[in-house]
């Protein structure tokens, strides 16, 4: 049984058909990367798996741990063990980052007290994401995921908008989260550049184009082919 199984998923967002029959699997302990040009539907797929209302499933199923979660609310999915790093999480005015991390740990399996390792000590009293830099947002999301310790980690472009110094930290923290002291957490990672693959072992690569999975294979070979030939479509 796969940890995550997506079957013929069709999703609309903003009144447009974005995903047009996506099928894929993430196995227990496996790390998969998802490549694809801008606007191909990668983020929408993660939103649909997380259950965000912005991504409306019109057909198909999402199976997690053998259970059909297609109709489950977001929090139920989180408690089943799905955790996500958003690319652009919303500002939540009035909610302290420290408080959010505390409840994330309470509802999850991870722990608090890691802010020092993430150089986030001074940010714990700040309102979540308000005025955060690109790197701070990534570190904040990773800190929340560390508190949550999900069984499936979904990362939406963990390296985007981050300076070089922060990339090393984010990369090593992503590795820690996935390696999880030898227990290997499953991960599903969107990457544009493949940069994150310098930090983590990846088992499988998918390419998504125009709402469909176009190919699947060894992630390094997939990346090399993209670097050599592009996606074969215009990157928007």
């Amino acid at each position: 049984m796969s940890l995550l199984e997506i079957e013929d998923l069709h999703v609309e967002a903003g009144g447009r058909k974005i995903l047009k029959g996506v099928s894929l699997t993430v196995e227990e302990g496996e790390t998969c990367v998802l490549f694809g040009p801008n606007g191909s539907g990668k983020s929408t797929l993660l939103s649909a798996i997380m259950g965000f209302s912005s991504a409306k499933v019109t057909q198909g199923r999402i199976i997690f741990k053998g259970r059909d979660i297609t109709g489950l609310p977001v929090d139920a999915r989180a408690r089943l063990g799905i955790g996500m790093m958003m690319q652009r999480p919303p500002n939540v005015i009035g909610v302290r980052l420290g408080d959010l991390i505390e409840v994330a740990a309470k509802n999850g399996h991870g722990s608090t007290g890691h802010e020092g390792e993430f150089r986030m000590d001074s940010m714990m009293d700040r309102d979540v994401n308000v005025g955060f830099s690109g790197g701070e947002i990534k570190r904040s999301e990773m800190l929340q995921l560390t508190a949550q310790a999900p069984d499936l980690v979904m990362l939406d472009e963990p390296e985007s908008g981050v300076d070089l110094e922060s990339i090393n930290m984010i990369g090593s923290k992503v590795r820690d989260l996935i390696e999880n002291n030898g227990r290997r957490t499953s991960a599903f990672v969107i990457t544009h550049t493949g940069q994150i693959m310098d930090f983590i072992d990846v088992n499988k690569g998918y390419i998504m184009i125009d709402g469909r999975i176009r190919s699947e294979g060894d992630p390094r070979e997939v990346l090399d082919s993209i670097k050599a030939h592009g996606y074969g479509v215009d990157d928007e």
């Binding site: 209302s53 989180a78 955790g83 919303p90 939540v92 009035g94 409840v103 509802n107």
Partner: protein, 403 residues
């Protein structure tokens, strides 16, 4: 000198804003003083009502406590002693000749029927005086209990902060013994000396039919600072209040922060007015309110009468349920050229993506909404009572019970 006849005539005078209350429907609340003794020995319900509005029965970390039940002084303690005078207003008038100078000076008894009634009843209340140069370490707490069905509580409170002195006051006003249909009127006069500071946090916990008409004016001297945090979290019948701060001394500054939850059938009309009468004064009026189907009006009036006045008015409302209304009424008035007065307002719902973001960390939807609402109401406010978070959660739960 106040003309008593004029005040009697004012008994028929409606307030400038809000719905009218028929005072005649209510009986003057009991005035016979009875000492409650040790607050920790009161029955649990009563203690709980106190805690709900930020008043600590154990009086720990409080420099003084004064409790009124209906119109009667029922408890008074002073742990600060040196530097602090705390007693009933009437006793203060008997004890200190100078106290009379502060009585009905900041508020005109003929303002409306509520002030007139309070004046004509020669109402008692709390009197707090901080001697010049004294900085109280802990807050003083005052508790106004309304415990008489169809009763009228009309209190006359006076706070005087001497030059170079500072004090924090936590005031909790609440119905007790299941009282519901009753009227609370609190006339409060506050006087801040030069370089003094007063942080005044008021939490109201009423019942679904209670009518509430606080009347507060603050007179401020040079470089003094006044901060008011006013919370209405529980269901209430009607509230109307429009406190005024007179910044009469150069460099004085004040903040009016009002945080309200308008439950179904509650009718709340609040706000504040700041008169910038001296040069280089500053103020901020902030209103954050949420309607669960109740009616909410948030007023703000900034008047720049002296050069260098800088003031900002901010009003944010969240509509969590249909059936009520929310309205913000900002007014900016300038009578001289060198003033800087601004306002901003926003009305809307809580963004779905924020709720879902918190849910993706495992919070149930109602927990996510509560967390956002709590943050919306209390974010960036300092010195709030520790139990406020719990009270806000309890109030949100009450609102949700109406589903």
């Amino acid at each position: 000198m106040t003309d008593r006849k004029e005040v009697e005539e004012a008994l028929g005078k409606r307030a400038g804003f809000g719905s009218d209350v028929d005072i005649e429907r209510y009986d003057e609340g009991a005035k016979d003083s009875q000492d409650m003794g040790d607050l920790e020995k009161l029955d649990d319900n009563l203690q709980q009502r106190m805690v709900n509005v930020g008043v600590m029965p154990d009086e720990e970390n409080r420099d003084g406590t004064i409790v009124f039940v209906n119109n009667a002084l029922s408890h008074c303690s002073n742990k600060a002693q040196d530097g602090l005078v705390i007693m009933s207003t009437q006793k203060a008038m008997e004890t200190y000749d100078w106290a009379k100078d502060y009585s009905w000076r900041a508020i005109d008894p003929t303002k409306d029927k509520y002030t007139a009634k309070t004046y004509l009843e020669d109402s008692d209340g709390y009197f707090i005086y901080v001697k010049p140069g004294h900085h109280l370490k802990h807050p003083v707490q005052t508790c106004m209990m309304l415990g008489q069905e169809r009763g009228l509580q009309n209190l006359h409170n006076i706070v005087v902060v001497g030059d170079n002195a500072s004090i924090d006051v936590v005031t909790g006003c609440t119905t007790v013994h299941g009282t519901n249909d009753a009227l609370h009127v609190g006339v409060s006069e506050m006087y801040l000396g030069e370089n003094s500071s007063l942080a005044f946090t008021m939490i109201h916990g009423w019942n679904a039919k209670t009518a509430v008409r606080p009347r507060t004016n603050v007179v401020m001297e040079k470089n003094s600072r006044y901060v008011s945090n006013y919370f209405i979290l529980d269901p209430v019948g009607t509230v109307q209040t429009f406190p005024v701060a007179f910044l009469n001394g150069r460099g004085a500054s004040c903040n009016f922060n009002t945080m309200c939850i308008a439950h179904e059938r509650s009718d709340i009309d609040t706000g504040g007015c700041v008169m910038h009468n001296a040069p280089n004064t500053g103020s901020e009026i902030v209103s954050r309110n949420i309607t669960y189907g109740g009616k909410m009006v948030a007023r703000g009036r900034l008047v720049g009468n002296a050069p260098g006045a800088k003031a900002h008015l901010e009003c944010n409302s969240i509509v969590l349920r249909d059936g009520g209304s929310t309205q913000s009424i900002p007014e900016l008035v300038a009578t001289v050229q060198d003033v800087d007065l601004t306002h901003e307002a926003a009305v809307g719902r809580i963004a779905e993506d924020q709720i879902e973001y918190l849910m993706s960390r495992g919070l149930a939807e109602d927990e996510a909404v509560s967390m956002i609402v709590r943050g919306f109401l209390t974010g960036n406010l300092e010195g709030l009572p520790a139990n406020l978070k719990k009270e806000i959660d309890a109030a949100i739960e009450k609102a949700n019970e109406g589903d």
